[in-house]
């Protein structure tokens, strides 16, 4: 009964709490509250959601839409427009390869070929065991150290196919 009353209070403030009882929804709600449930905070909120959940599940986007009082189409539209929002789970590790022009002329394609071959996946995919996601990106603003890659959030430059394969090998069964 007390539980129900609590839910009622939240409902009045914004929308209903998430029925799963997953604590992460509560954390997301706090973020939205900090932004006063303003619709222009949508991108920040989606970043927070992706940090909490790893990717943007359909259910999660409905939750956000409800709280920010936006049509779900607006949330889906934003999620699919921006390159950094992911609708699918990511691997445990990520390798981002810059394909910007400065990196391209310094051999980014050779890096991509090498990693694709090593991991047996194409850019944009994740290995079946969920260990590694391979992503391509536009210019990272690290052209001075081209070809640039980002391995688990750390920018590294002047890579060769060999040096990159060395770093990723440990995460792959056939490595």
């Amino acid at each position: 009964m007390a539980e129900a009353a609590k839910t009622e209070v939240i409902k009045k403030k914004a929308g209903p709490a998430h029925p799963s009882g997953d604590k992460r929804f509560k954390l997301l709600e706090v973020t939205m509250k900090r932004h006063q449930f303003r619709s222009d905070a949508l991108i920040e909120v989606m970043h927070a959601a992706q940090e909490l959940f790893g990717f943007l599940e359909v259910d999660l986007m409905f939750f956000i839409a409800r709280y920010l009082k936006l049509p779900p189409s607006r949330v889906f539209g934003v999620a699919t427009f921006y390159n950094l929002f992911s609708l699918r789970p990511k691997g445990e590790h990520t390798c981002v390869l810059c394909t910007g022009t400065a990196c391209y002329v310094k051999g980014a394609d050779a890096l991509l070929d090498a990693v694709e071959k090593l991991a047996g996946i194409k850019a944009g995919e994740t290995t079946e065991d969920g260990k590694l996601s391979l992503v391509t990106a536009r210019c990272l603003g690290a052209c001075g150290i081209a070809p640039a890659v980002v391995v688990d959030g750390t920018v590294k430059g002047l890579e060769t196919p060999d040096s990159l394969v060395q770093q990723l090998k440990g995460w792959l069964p056939n490595g």
Binding site: R38, S39, D40, A41, L42, I43, E44, M46, H47, R74, G77, V78, F81, Y82, N83, L84, F85, T99, G100, T101, A102, Y104, V105, K106, D113, A137, R138, C139, L140, G141, A142, C143, G144, I145, A146, G153
Partner: protein
């Protein structure tokens, strides 16, 4: 020639260059104090007189833009700082933000005073994690020191600066795309007019300026108009439209050079000097075949156009779109222009926001035509077809909402005219740049 004394990059090698204490010890925030003692319109006029032109790509006079705001507007008026730096080859804004954030914040505060704004948004690309952390810390320092917030420096001036991150889309750099994105929407550029100065963020008057532009403002206040105009290139008396290219500029040099770097020089340095002197020459003892003068949207200089002055007028004289971001990417004589152009088109096609048919379809078809050429199945007519598609898209022919389309068209137009022989030879040879496995993929 005496060595140029850096202005914007002067402090970057200092230990802890990002800290407020050091910035103030070097005379920081005195420019703001000076500005706050002046009437807003006087600050605007000073910046106008300095001839400062936007460093974000279009080269529009900063002071003139500020003076377009409606007079006696009840507010709010917003300043949006364009820190979305996404033009391939460009990384000068990142260095400015990571190494000397207070130089930027001071410029922001001065600009806000000039345009009577109490709220500035820094639109930062999400990928710049370090810039985010440094700026966030610097903003907090400012609030604590009374340099942001209420009653700044005891003058009654009030300013809030908010840091907003994007989510990975090139088009967020276009000023109205940026505004849409700040409002939490897809970054679809708006039809102009109305220009942002009349109706921008939250439908209020808004000024959008690049990071480097605002950093220059700080120094104009401290050292004056004459000093600023002592650097760069005065207007060509035979060209009424030329407003001159004054002040220091950060040039990024990347690609096939021995020493890729970001160097600060007076506007108007020759492309050849950038490559040979500052970039340490073309790598592996090779020669340059083509040079991107200011980010790939600007097109290409050919090897015999390297004595082009990289000021606001120079690149245009040899058929490029403009100075852009002054990001110089060097392409050596062993690299295929077909491949480089394909890389540019693939990028533009991916980043087109899709609102305008000529841009959405044009970029996609140009990429497909180049894919076909690269699988060895191109026809000689494809070269003219590429030119025709490129020539029909953009603000210049008047078929699109924003300049992304012009930036997509220019590398194509330049490549197929300046390097036509190479395209013909490539197609005639029937050779292919891609491996058989990739070819199989492309065929599907």
């Amino acid at each position: 020639m005496p060595r140029f004394e850096p202005v914007l990059l002067k402090r970057i090698d200092k230990p802890n260059s990002a800290a407020l204490a050091g910035y103030r010890a070097d005379g920081g925030y005195t420019a703001l104090k000076k500005a706050l003692a002046m009437a807003p319109d006087d600050v605007t006029n000073l910046v106008k007189d300095s001839g400062l032109r936007g460093r974000g790509g279009a080269g529009f006079s900063a002071g003139a833009k500020w003076s377009f705001l409606p007079k006696n507007h009840p507010g709010p008026i917003y300043l949006c700082v364009n820190a979305d730096e996404s033009e391939p080859g460009t990384f000068n804004n990142r260095i400015l933000m990571e190494q000397d954030p207070h130089q930027l914040l001071e410029g922001i505060a001065i600009a806000c005073h000039a345009i009577r704004s109490n709220a500035a948004y820094i639109y930062l690309r999400y990928e710049y994690g370090r810039s985010y952390r440094v700026l966030d810390a610097a903003i907090k320092e400012c609030y604590a020191a009374g340099l942001l917030g209420e009653n700044i420096l005891g003058t009654g001036f009030k300013l809030d600066v908010r840091l907003h991150r994007g989510a990975g889309a090139y088009i967020c750099g276009e000023e109205t795309g940026l505004i849409e994105s700040l409002e939490g929407k897809r970054a679809w550029p708006r039809i102009k007019p109305p220009y942002p100065a009349i109706e921008g963020l939250f439908r209020k008057p808004t000024i959008v300026n690049n990071v480097e532009t605002l950093c220059c403002v700080t120094h104009i206040l401290t050292r004056g108009v004459e000093w600023f105009k002592s650097m760069g290139v005065p207007p060509d008396p035979n060209n009424k439209r030329d407003q001159g290219s004054y002040g220091p500029k950060l040039y990024c040099i990347s690609g096939h050079v021995n020493k890729p770097c970001c160097v600060e020089l007076p506007l108007g340095v020759m492309a050849r000097e950038l490559i040979d002197v500052h970039g340490g020459g073309v790598w592996k003892g090779r020669k340059a075949k083509a040079v991107v003068p200011g980010g790939i949207s600007m097109g290409f200089l050919s090897a015999n156009e390297l004595d082009t002055k990289l000021d606001f007028e120079g690149p245009g004289k040899v058929g490029c779109l403009g100075l852009g971001t002054a990001a110089v990417v060097v392409i050596d004589d062993q690299t295929s222009m077909v491949d480089v152009l394909y890389n540019c088109c693939r990028f533009m096609s991916h980043e087109s926001c899709g609102q305008c048919t000529p841009c959405r379809e044009g970029t996609a078809w140009m990429t497909k035509i180049l894919e076909r050429i690269r699988t060895g199945r191109g026809k000689l007519e494809d070269i003219d077809l590429l030119y025709e598609v490129a020539n029909s898209m953009g603000i210049i022919p008047g078929t699109t909402i924003c300049g992304l389309a012009d930036g997509a068209a220019w590398p194509v137009k330049n490549a197929v005219t300046k390097f036509r022989g190479e395209f013909e030879e490539y197609i005639r040879s029937g050779r292919s740049s891609i491996t058989p496995a990739q070819q199989l993929m492309a065929a599907h």
